[in-house]
């Protein structure tokens, strides 16, 4: 029995009431832009959605004032597609210490109800990884959001930028129906724009107003071995200049050389050599020597290891490095502080160098033209004196520029990267050499497989105890070394247990007898040595009658992911080379051996080699992956690569004492 009261439930009454109201009336209290969006909002699809919300409209309007100040207005309209409404019920606006948020508004249009303006109090929260920074986000909550709700947010801010360069990322972390960036400039201003990562439309121009619009941006999808969706999203870069007769407070960049000059002026004197810097470098190089290579190595290692990373990004300090002497005295600093100290240290020993401003992380943020600021990191390009040959450890970080000559790139902030290696997150990136008038864009070396290597050497024999005794020496370089160093730095105990755990996972009866590491060899590698034994005659997978696996674990060197339903690219992050060399004693004369072979495909190759002398077997397996990425259309090639890995690495031989 349903009571009358239940029939007149408030929600039902509201539904009946709203059924008589035209949608225009429901949205009557909305501002025009929101009402227009509400008018055309699509129905919420029935059933469970794949994303909890969608962005119906996203707009950023930047009005440049005659003094270079920016008046910014951000509007966005969200539609709750799910009963999980967290992503809809809070609006946000990120800002820094050059920005003042002047207005925050939100409206909520629940399904079949009237729109209401939010009365919530905004909250500012500090964000970011920096130890100390002015980065914040202003949050505004909207109450009562439910499935089908439309929520409209509007933020207004005034920014006094340090330079007139804008970047707008068309990315909301959700599917977007319509996204727009609008730019209004005073008459006579120059506006140069460029699309990065994806081609985009030319702006629509109406007087002094330009607008760029994209539609139908799909929902990001998180997958293993995939780049961050935001790093692949369309990015619009804009360069602004006032007419020549107008002077504005922010810097303006006509070309990359002017960006270089701006930065050089800003950091002038910061890399000056002080007596303390001279003393510190002398002490650092005393154990190695005074050749250019030794100076690069000593100074780079000194800054990398002695100066701890502490980011203080307040105001202009976010761009201007501290004086090298101060960083040395305090022994802490961020990337530009560390890099500037390295420059001073190199200068103290007669090696000139340049700051390189760059974007860390692999995303393309810097166009060739016009100049648009897309940097978040600072490394150093050291000039190699003419006629000097550098050892092999420097090969991957070297490049030659027609104007600047031979350069070695050093990132002293990466405390797991050997001096002479280039972090994979920087490979192939476009950076700005800040060298005053001579400043220019350079493209860092993209890297090749030999820059990131794992070399594993195994020696095995059957002992008198019937066990298989193995000694495994592994050497890592490049990004592969950085990964294991990072683990080692966090906890040497955990690293050792992880390595031993992997051995026990493969051979559950294994006994690890010895373990040692060398975090950084003289040639910049990470070296690890492991001795262990395990039963040969027992019924373990490896030690069956089928024999001893020649390259244990080799086929797993490259992570694999399901491809059947995958739409996005598989990205290994960097090219790499993996090489196993195995020497076994006690291989019977009549034991069959495979033929040495060479396999190759598009961007990869595998070589195996086997030789026998008496009962000694020497085998090697080498894989070179020269590409880092396989698009979805290339998955057949990727499968071929994986299949070849397994097939070539799976050979076994019997052993006897």
């Amino acid at each position: 029995v349903i009571s009358t009261g239940r029939l007149l439930h408030p929600a039902l009454r509201a539904l009946l009431c709203c059924a008589t109201l035209p949608s225009t009336a429901i949205a009557a209290s909305l501002p025009d832009w929101a009402a227009a969006t509400a008018e055309t909002a699509p129905e919420v699809p029935p059933g469970p959605p794949n994303t909890p919300s969608r962005v119906l409209y996203s707009e950023v309007r930047t009005a440049v004032q005659t003094d270079g100040t920016l008046r910014i207005r951000r509007r966005f309209a969200l539609q709750a597609l799910s009963v999980e409404t967290d992503t809809v019920s809070t609006g946000w606006y990120p800002f820094g210490d050059t920005t003042k948020v002047t207005a925050v508004r939100a409206w909520h249009l629940p399904p079949h109800e009237r729109a209401k303006k939010s009365r919530s109090i905004p909250v500012d929260v500090a964000v970011g990884d920096a130890f100390l920074s002015g980065s914040k986000v202003r949050l505004l909550e909207v109450e009562g959001v439910k499935k089908g709700s439309l929520v409209f947010y509007e933020f207004e801010a005034i920014e006094k930028p340090y330079f007139l360069s804008l970047s707008h990322l068309f990315y909301e972390g959700a599917p977007v129906d319509r996204a727009r960036f609008e730019l209004e400039t005073p008459p006579g201003w120059s506006v140069r724009s460029v699309w990065l990562r994806h081609p985009g439309p030319d702006p629509r121009v109406a007087g002094t107003l330009r607008s760029w619009e994209l539609r139908g941006l799909s929902a990001p999808e998180e997958e293993r071995l995939a780049p961050d969706a935001a790093d692949e999203a369309p990015l619009l870069g804009i360069n602004l200049s006032p007419p020549p007769e107008i002077r504005v407070a922010p810097a303006t960049f006509s070309d990359w050389s002017s960006v270089s000059r701006w930065y050089s002026d800003l950091s002038r004197g910061r890399a000056d050599v002080t007596p303390a810097v001279e003393t510190a470098v002398r002490q650092a190089i005393s154990s190695l020597g005074t050749s250019p290579a030794e100076i690069l190595l000593s100074a780079g290692t000194m800054v990398r290891d002695r100066v701890r990373y502490v980011a203080v990004e307040l105001g202009l300090a976010g761009f201007r490095p501290r004086p090298a002497g101060e960083t040395l005295a305090k022994l802490y600093g961020d990337c530009k502080d560390k890099g500037t100290l390295l420059q001073a240290a190199l200068a103290a020993e007669g090696i000139s160098s340049y700051p390189v401003l760059i974007n860390l992380g692999g995303a393309k943020t810097v166009p060739q033209d016009p100049p648009v600021w897309g940097f978040n990191h600072f490394i150093v390009a050291a000039a190699v004196p003419p006629g000097q040959n550098l050892p092999d450890r420097f090969t991957s970080a070297q490049m030659t520029d027609p104007d600047l000559g031979r350069l070695v790139l050093i990132d002293p902030t990466s405390d797991t990267t050997s001096i002479g290696s280039l972090p994979a997150a920087l490979a192939g990136q476009t950076g700005l050499v800040a060298a005053g008038m001579r400043g220019k864009l350079i493209t860092l070396p993209a890297g090749n497989p030999s820059d990131h290597q794992l070399q594993r050497h195994l020696v095995g024999r059957l002992g008198d105890d019937g066990d298989l005794h193995m000694v495994r020496e592994s050497r890592f370089t490049g990004e592969l070394a950085a990964e294991v160093r990072s683990e080692e730095n966090r906890s040497s105990r955990d690293r050792r247990e992880a390595v031993e755990g992997a051995i026990l996972h493969r051979w559950p009866d294994a006994v690890v007898e010895d373990y040692s590491i060398q975090p950084e060899t003289s040639d910049g590698w990470f070296a690890e040595k492991l001795s262990f034994r395990h039963g040969y005659s027992s019924a373990s997978g490896d030690a069956s009658d089928s024999g001893v696996e020649l390259f244990p674990g080799a086929a797993d060197a490259f992570e694999r992911v399901p491809l059947g339903r995958r739409k996005g690219a598989v990205d290994y992050g960097f090219p790499q080379l993996v090489r196993y060399e195995t020497m076994l004693e006690g291989v019977p004369q009549d034991a069959a051996l495979p033929e040495s072979e060479s396999l190759q495909g598009n961007g990869w190759s595998i070589k195996t080699y086997y030789s026998r002398e008496g009962t000694s077997l020497k085998a090697s397996w080498e894989v070179q992956l020269s590409r880092r990425r396989f698009e979805a259309t290339e998955f057949a090639e990727l499968r071929k690569f994986w299949s070849s890995l397994s097939a070539s690495a799976g050979w076994r031989v019997p052993l006897s004492q």
Binding site: P48, D124, S133, D305, N489, S546, R560, W642
Partner: protein
């Protein structure tokens, strides 16, 4: 100030306690009242002492990156309006990882207090001293809303290098008092000397509680208005697999104010009464009796059978709104959600649905109406924290159960149930079992141990068939998994909440999707029925089987996603207990069809593996089609103390080794 002393009734001692699960909270050694608590916090010496200089790295003890030499705090809230905090830390730095200790953050808001004292310096190995001055500290606003803000002062100590000592401290005032503080006595660094003094506001009842300090050099001294917790030579907390939750390892102190000054006994008695009052108000006699009429339970049957029948009827006829399928939740409109808060059993029964606790209250009423003694039990998700009766707050509980038994029967005969959980009568979710619960009684309460279900109630049955394809070297794999009791319970509950796309991804993963195994079908057909148990069907192709007809012999590993994973313990040492999810039995049956033209070689006989923690059997037999693998794995232990770690590790290693036994096929006689 009241101490953490607790005079509850003695606990029953279930069998698995003998295995040493450290689920009881522990109070520290407590000195007699009236002991001195006064400490004097002042800067440490401005030079490295010989003892400090001699301290060296010891990764095995967690002293790889540094030592905290002294960590001392005094929090004086005695005035109630304005309080003071004095803090001092002295540490030795060994590595760059420990240098983060030199990035200082002071919880100071200049709008609400005064920074009265500050010192911070780095003592260099060569005898030099570098100072971080007060004026070098920068304020960072962490949060601001309206006129309220949270701010901290930040600064970095200069010149920090391996081998140096850092020493810093401050004294500041702040407005009001902190209602609850959790103090980590043990941390990720070893601590040589720890002191924490709390002087609470006398205007409110204050309580402290020290946990997990047994066997450590932790001592507590209190007087009428303050408490001092000290610790000496405290080892670092180490991360270990299958360890108790983070909150339950490492010594900690909880300092808090309570609404009343009741003694613990009184506090819990009052909470017990409140809980029962709510349940009684919910489960009114008339509506319960109407429900019983609907159930048509024969009065001739024994009470346990009637209770089970009622449980089964309610499970079938009343939906648990706390565990809706994603499709159900998304199909509801706002009116459904508004009506989700029901006040009485009558409403639940009329609407045929209720939230988790409403269902517990309902069964509590039904059981009593059937003539049983019924009690409500508050407990926790033990993967997060344990119920601690010494911590006087009911807020620690996040789960409710019902204990039922015959009239006059002792409590150890009680059956614990969780209506709406999807588990059969007599089972409770594994994450609340093996831990203490608070059992409410009309005149008081009891702390009870909630036994884990026996392994035989948690059985998984997997059936797989593997067929090789000589054309492309792959193998087709079809398998299904059924789970009883706790088996698959977590997965079912998690999958139900996911949208279909995300659920399919999880199902693919469960079925073993990797680059080597492409899953073409992954289904959980009974997922919408919470009572239906666990069932998954999978089909896939093993891409890297690498069978070729020209091989003379072919070796194949039969393990995979169709075998419930066996815990892997590889470290040779252990500090904490090992705590598994639940005792269980896994039965796997695999039919491996021999590759065309091949026959199995003589299959090895694998000896049974027996241990106090479980057992394992593997039978490999030749069949007309190829091979049959029958595998039985029983994990009967729930919690294993660190002293028994090595035999447990060996047992699991032997199981892993047996699971690696390959099947070997050779070319059939007469085949080319």
């Amino acid at each position: 100030l009241s101490s953490a002393g607790f005079a509850s009734r003695p606990l029953s001692a279930p069998r698995f306690l003998a295995l040493g699960i450290a689920l009881l909270s522990l109070t520290a050694n407590e000195a007699p009242a009236g002991g001195k608590t006064v400490i004097s916090i002042r800067p440490g010496p401005r030079s490295i002492t010989p003892e400090e200089r001699s301290l060296a790295q010891d990764p095995s003890r967690g002293a790889e990156h540094g030592f905290i030499l002294l960590d001392e705090t005094e929090r004086d809230e005695s005035v109630g309006v304005d309080s003071s905090l004095t803090y001092h830390l002295r540490a030795k730095i060994f590595s760059s990882q420990a240098r983060k200790l030199a990035d200082l953050e002071v919880p100071y808001n200049r709008d609400e207090g005064v920074l009265k004292k500050w010192w911070a310096w780095t003592l260099l190995p060569d005898g030099g001293v570098l100072e971080l001055k007060r004026e070098d500290l920068k304020e960072q606003e962490v949060m601001r809303s309206g006129g309220f803000k949270i701010a901290v002062l930040k600064g970095s100590l200069p010149g920090v290098v391996p081998g140096c000592i850092i020493d810093y401290g401050y004294s500041l005032t702040y407005r009001g008092y902190l209602s609850t503080q959790r103090v980590e006595i043990q941390q990720s660094f070893p601590i040589l000397d720890f002191r924490y003094r709390w002087i609470p506001w006398e205007g409110r009842a204050a309580t402290y509680h020290v946990a997990h300090a047994t066997g450590l050099g932790v001592n507590t001294v209190r007087d009428q208005r303050s408490v001092l917790v000290t610790g000496k030579d405290l080892p670092a907390i180490l991360e270990e697999p299958w360890m108790p939750p983070a909150d339950e390892v490492g010594a900690s102190a909880t300092l808090y104010y309570r609404a009343t000054a009741d003694k613990p006994e009184e506090f819990w008695k009052l909470e017990s009464k409140r809980l029962l009052r709510r349940a009684d108000a919910f489960a009114k006699k008339q509506s319960i009796e109407q429900a019983l009429t609907s159930m048509k339970i024969s009065e001739q049957t024994e009470l346990p059978a009637r209770l089970k029948a009622a449980y089964d009827w309610l499970s079938k006829n009343v939906r648990n709104r706390s565990l809706l399928m994603n499709e159900e939740a998304e199909a509801e409109d706002e009116d459904d959600k508004k009506e989700a808060t029901r006040r009485t059993a009558k409403e639940v029964l009329e609407q045929k649905e209720g939230e988790g606790r409403e269902l517990d209250f309902l069964f509590y009423g039904v059981a009593r109406a059937l003539g049983a003694e019924a009690n409500l039990v508050l407990t926790t998700d033990r993967t997060d924290h344990y119920f601690d009766p010494v911590l006087l707050t009911v807020g620690q509980s996040d789960w409710t159960l019902v204990a039922v038994r015959g009239p006059g029967e002792p409590l150890d005969k009680a059956t614990y149930v969780d209506l709406g959980s999807g588990l059969p009568y007599g089972d409770i979710p594994w994450w609340v079992s093996g831990a203490q619960g608070f059992l409410a009684e009309p005149a008081g309460y009891q702390m009870v141990m909630l036994d884990p279900s026996e392994a035989r109630r948690n059985v998984s049955e997997a059936h797989a068939k593997i067929v090789f394809d000589p054309q492309d070297g792959t193998a087709k794999i079809s398998w299904s998994m059924d789970g009883l009791g706790q088996q698959g319970l977590s997965e079912r509950r998690a999958w139900r909440t996911l949208n279909p796309a995300d659920r399919q991804k999880r199902l693919d993963e469960y079925c073993g999707a990797t680059g080597d195994l492409e899953i073409s079908r992954a289904e959980a057909p009974g997922l919408q029925d919470l009572q239906a148990g666990f069932h998954v069907d999978c089909d896939g192709t093993l891409l890297e089987a690498h069978f070729r007809s020209d091989l003379g012999q072919y070796s194949f590993r039969w393990d995979g996603a169709w075998i419930e994973s066996v815990p892997e313990l590889t470290s040779t040492s252990r500090r904490e207990s090992v705590v598994f999810n639940f005792p269980r039995i896994d039965h796997t049956s695999i039919e491996v069809v021999a590759p065309p033209g091949f026959v199995p070689t003589a299959l090895p006989k694998v000896a049974p593996i027996e241990s106090p923690f479980g057992r394992y059997n593997l039978f490999l037999t030749v069949t007309p089609e190829g091979c049959q693998v029958e595998r039985l794995f029983a994990l009967t232990a729930l919690a294993v103390p660190a002293k028994d770690y090595e035999p447990l590790r060996r047992f699991l290693a032997e199981v892993h080794q047996a699971d690696a036994t390959p099947l070997v096929f050779q070319k059939a006689a007469g085949r080319p």
